[in-house]
Structure formats: C-alpha cells, structure tokens
C-alpha cells in the first residue's frame, strides 16, 4: 500500500490546496499541531444558520496533511454540527482515496481534529 499514496488527486490538492488562507474575525478558529512531526494547522470558520458557511485553513505540513485539509474543508462546507461530529478516520481515507500507515494517519487526521474542535468550540459557546 505504501506505493500508491502519491496519487494524482493527492498531488493536485497538495499543489493547489482549496480554501487556503485566513478569515479575519472568524466565528471560530482552532490551531493544532502534531507534536511528533511538527505539522501545524489553523482552521477558520464562519457559520450561518448553524451551518458552515465559509471555511479556510493555513498550515504547514506534508502532501498528505495538506491534501486532507484541502479536501476536508471542501467537504464540510454547508454542513452542520451533527455531520461534523460523525466524521471519522474512514471518511478521511475515503476522501483521500488511499490507505495509510499508523504513523502517517496522524498527518491525515490533524485537519479533521482541528475542524472538529473549531466547530465544537462554536457550538459550546
């Protein structure tokens, strides 16, 4: 499985990530880091009607984490708390279209964790 992780899809999202950038005065923000490898991400979200209206991220990481952030931010647009809550590892892998090793999974999951935390923080206010 190691062979097929640098697919065209991944490389495309890595080279041209969707939703890359900041939102000034966002409704919710969350930064996280993967302490073991130094990957960092910050997610910004604006809501409307309890749904994600706008989402952006900045960060620093490998092809996998960047592609994951790019695809996930697209995927959650227009979605609500319930939807985000239910997202898990398998959804991320399905989006990415690849299989990942245990340690590498952390790269792919960092954006999901950051999105979840940003959403939770908004709804627990």
């Amino acid at each position: 499985m190691d062979k097929e992780i640098y697919t065209e899809l991944i490389m495309e999202h890595y080279k041209k990530p969707r939703n890359f950038g900041k939102i000034l005065k966002a409704d919710a923000e969350y930064s996280d880091a993967n302490p073991l490898c130094g990957d960092e991400i910050k997610v910004y979200i604006n809501f409307s009607n309890k749904k994600i209206k706008e989402i952006k991220f900045i960060g620093n990481g490998c092809a996998i984490s960047q592609a994951s952030a790019s695809m996930l931010t697209d995927y959650v647009k227009g979605k609500d708390l319930e939807f985000v809550k239910k997202l898990d590892k398998d959804d991320v892998l399905k989006l990415l279209g690849i299989d990942l090793s245990f340690n590498r999974l952390k790269c792919a999951l960092l954006p999901l964790k950051a999105i979840k935390m940003a959403v939770y923080s908004y709804f627990s206010k």
Partner: protein, 402 residues
C-alpha cells in the same frame, strides 16, 4: 495439577543449582519468564526494532503498533476504560512515586494521607515524603494479630483523608485487603484511592472499574514480563489534572526556548524513548496469563498456600491470616532462634531459592517485633512436591542449628 503443563515453557526451571534441580520459590521478588515472553523480546530486536511514534518508515510503524497494542492489552487486562489511562513506567515503585508526585498539588498543610502499617517501602516513602513536603499528616491503619487490616480503625480514620494508599496484597503477611470496601468508603469520604498492585495484579483478576480504584501501580517483572517495565493506571480525569513529573521528548506538544506545552494522554507522562521491548514483552506476558486465565492461577495459588500453611506451619511460625483464601501465594516465616539468612543459605545448598530479610517492609517487621523473616512465594509453575522439598530442607536447617 492442571498447571503442570505450563512448566515446560519456563527454560530456567530446567536448571540445576548446587547439583540439585532448581526449586524457585521467590516469585514475589521477581517471576520467571516463559519462552513466549523471551521470544517476543527477541523477535522485536531481530525483526522490528526502531524508535516509535516519530518516524514514517516501516520498522518504526511496526514498533509503534506493537507498543500501542501492548498498551491495549494492559488496559483490557485491568479493565481500564481507555488506553489513555495506561502509563508505562519502570516498576511499581516508580508508578507510586508518580502517583504521589502527581497528587501533590491537591495536598495542603494538615491534610491527611492515610496508609497502613503493612506497606512495602514503595507505598510508604513516597507518601512520607509528600507529607513532609506539604506539612501534611500521614496516618496509619494497623492490622490485627491475624494479619487482617483493622477495618474499624480504617472506618474511623478515612473520614477526613485526602488520599488513601493501600496495598492490595501484602508481600509479607500475604493478606489480601478488601479493596472494594476500602475504595467505596474512600469515595464516600471524597478521598482518592491509590492501590499498590505489585503482588495482586500478577496473581488475580484486578478490575479497576469494579473495584473503583483511582490509581494502581504494578510491575511487569513480577507477572512473567521483562524487567524495566511497569504500569501506572489512573483515571483519566486525575491524569488530566496532574502535572508531569519528568520532562522531555514525546510528552511535548510545543516547545519554545521559554516554555513548553504538554502532549495529550498518555504521552504526557512518558518521557524520552520508551522501554519499547519491555512493553511488548509485558504484552506477551499478559497474553500468556490471559490464556491460562487468572482465575485458574488464583486457584493454584490458594491450593499451594493451603498446603504450605499446613506443612511448614508445623515447624515454623508463619505470619498473616490462617485461611489460604484470604492470602496471596506466599508465606513468610521464622524458625525459632535461626536467622532467616541462614535458612536461605542452607536451602540454597539444596537448590531451593527463597528470600530472607525484611522484604522492603521494615515497619511491618518492627510491628511484628522481628528483624527479618524467610519467605517462600509461589506462582503457576510451582508444585506441592516443591513444598515437600522445602519442608525437608527446613528440617535439615533445624538439625544444623540444633
């Protein structure tokens, strides 16, 4: 006996000592290791050795998975709610030190820490030192003449205790303490209950949720596992409140020159490169024990202890409860006017390994008004026949010193 078939798994038991077949009766100090555990360690070093968590290469991947699987095995073994509650440490002593350290911010001047007079030094000195540091009070529950904890005294003293630190099984008296009752009362008083599981976890089913234990420490090397690895279990809520004791590497999320942010559980408490092979070996030991079933091991312990109480009791003073059911698999004893060292040395001439001394429980020995004792301790690989050999050798000791 039904355990007989496992003896062949322990290579060391084929060994001779002073020309006699080894009779190993010192498992309470450290247990012997089945070939399955030894092979797990060897296999790691021969085929998968790498540092964990940090690298993306295959070896590191394999090592990380094996290490985290070991954590899962430990969590399942004591029925922890989550692997986040399992901290790998060096041994019971370190686990209990981390416990006392971690709880230090909850203790103020004149607070009470309650323990017992039957503790191993490892569950005494950390609390002594904490009490000293915080000018808190250290109080003790005593045991009665049969070696049972004085539960009336406990009931009285637990009321205003902030921490209750108690051993589940005494390594000298053999007494198994009623942890569930103790924990329930501790809960009612709002105290945190810390349990020394060094002698219990290897020998019986210990379910931290059922027993309502807040923190538990135990050692791999006493439960068929390797040296250098032990476990601190603590409820997640407590671990989250606790400050890490030692600092570095994996336990860090972010570091600048001036400050650091701790990592998530359980890594917050694991510093530097872990004893990876040790955790994996402990995992293999747990597999081995689980396959035999802890209930069977406990039954075997009781059977041997009952036999030993009867046989050895005829010529020696044995400390602790008279009922084998209330005891873990060991007997500490004395022969009149013969120093335990001399007993141990003469037994060794016959290939029999026992311990002599105070077994790191000086206050307990003072309480019994003896300076030392001899101790024979059992595990699944011991037999009644070995207890007969022990008895025969003890009789020889008496002759030499008559």
């Amino acid at each position: 006996m039904s355990m007989q078939k496992y003896i062949k798994d322990f290579p060391i038991l084929k060994r001779k000592v002073n020309g006699k077949k080894l009779v190993y009766l010192d498992s309470a100090a450290t247990s012997q290791k089945p070939i399955q555990v030894i092979k797990a360690i060897t296999d790691f070093y021969m085929n998968h050795n790498a540092n964990i968590h940090r690298a993306l290469h295959t070896l590191s991947e394999e090592a990380t998975i094996a290490y985290e699987q070991a954590r899962e095995k430990v969590a399942a073994f004591i029925n922890a709610e989550s692997t986040e509650e399992i901290i790998f440490v060096r041994n019971t002593t370190e686990a209990l030190n981390f416990a006392s350290f971690g709880l230090r911010d909850m203790i103020k001047k004149d607070d009470k820490i309650l323990t017992t007079t039957m503790e191993h030094h490892s569950n005494l000195i950390p609390w002594q030192q904490l009490a000293k540091m915080k000018k808190a009070k250290l109080d003790f529950v005593d045991f009665d003449k049969n070696g049972y904890l004085d539960m009336k005294m406990f009931d009285k003293k637990v009321n205003d205790a902030k921490i209750v630190a108690v051993t589940q099984a005494s390594n000298v008296l053999g007494t198994i303490n009623p942890i569930k009752k103790i924990a329930e009362k501790a809960k009612q008083s709002g105290s945190i209950i810390v349990v020394d599981g060094a002698q219990s976890v290897p020998h019986m089913t210990v379910d931290v949720q059922e027993l309502q234990i807040d923190m538990l420490g135990f050692s791999g090397h006493k439960m068929l596992g390797p040296t250098g690895i032990g476990v601190l279990y603590a409820r997640k809520e407590l671990l989250e409140k606790m400050q890490p004791v030692l600092f570095g590497s994996d336990m860090i999320k972010y570091v600048s020159l001036s400050d650091a942010e701790w990592n998530d559980l359980p890594y917050k408490f694991e510093y530097g490169t872990s004893h990876i092979a040790g955790a994996i070996g402990l995992g293999a030991a747990i597999d081995y024990l689980t396959q035999i079933r802890m209930k069977e091991i406990r039954k075997h312990d009781i059977e041997l202890t009952r036999y030993a109480l009867k046989k050895v009791g005829k010529i020696a003073t044995i400390y602790g409860p008279k009922k084998a059911e209330d005891r873990s698999g060991l007997i500490a004893f004395n022969l009149a006017n013969i120093h335990p060292h001399d007993i141990a040395a003469i037994l060794n001439q016959d290939g029999i390994a026992i311990r002599s001394g105070h077994h790191c429980a000086m206050p307990l020995h003072e309480r019994l008004k003896i300076s030392a004792s001899a101790r024979a301790s059992f595990y699944l690989y011991n037999t009644k026949k070995e207890i007969d050999l022990l008895l025969k050798s003890l009789q020889r000791v008496k002759e030499i010193f008559s």
